[in-house]
């Protein structure tokens, strides 16, 4: 009853993104907790976890913070920051 108004609004896409973020969070948790190291494309599990986090951050920026519909300068700035910080973190973990 309290939530009945939620789905009346145009946030279907954002709801799918939210569910994807939850799945990615649980996947990171699974990768970190698995007894056997879970790599991906030959990368170690620490790098995989950081790449999952970077992808989640991009989803939040683009869809929740509406950078997707914002001016190009904001898209370039946020993507550049995310690329640099993810690359730097992966460098320390490789």
């Amino acid at each position: 009853m309290y939530l009945k108004n939620v789905m009346q609004f145009r946030i279907y896409k954002e709801t799918v993104i939210y569910l994807l973020l939850v799945v990615l969070t649980l996947s990171s948790w699974y990768v970190a907790n698995n007894e056997k190291p879970v790599g991906l494309f030959g990368l170690n599990e620490r790098v995989v976890i950081i790449l999952f986090a970077a992808f989640k951050v991009r989803l939040v920026l683009r869809y929740f913070m509406e950078v997707n519909q914002a001016a190009s300068v904001l898209k370039i700035l946020t993507d550049a920051w995310l690329f640099l910080i993810s690359l730097s973190m992966c460098f320390f973990l490789l």
């Binding site: 939850v22 969070t25 990171s28 948790w29 939040v60 519909q69 904001l74 730097s88």
Partner: protein
Amino acid sequence: MNDIRPSKIPGGEGIWVFICGDLIVFSLFFLVFLDYRSVSPELFSVSANSLNLTFGLLNTLVLLTSSWFIVGALDAFRRNRLIAFRRLSLLALFCGVFFVVLKIFEYKEKILGGVGLTTNDFYMFYYVLTGIHLFHVLLGLGAIGWLLIASRPKICCLNSESVESVCVFWHMVDLLWIFIFPLLYLVA
């Protein structure tokens, strides 16, 4: 009448200058943390294993849910649905308060276990990073509370830019935690 379309810069330039500054500061914290970790990986690994992963996972899910409620609240605001806007903002606020309560329990568990800021380098980063993030959560909760108070008589009392600013700030709090959670709880 509110503008139904998102702004060219959501919330305006001012909030993004603040957000960019915050992201740069936190990025430096993350890199310094990883640099310290590369010096003593054993110590960081043992210390990170002593953290309660359930708290970290719950905190992440609670903040993601809160962000989703705020997305709905902004959409409701743009459609002039005052009740839905207030209800969804309140749900986001509850999630934020739940995050703070979880953090208090986590800190209590650690402090009662004799683990403090000066125990070792890992815990110094743990308390500083999560503490500064918690401060941002409290700021965000104050801003959402202000939205609830300002929207009480009529939704027209709020302008689109201020609502967008609060929403963007709240998402940034979520975004920072998305990096803090794997760094402290999973990767270290």
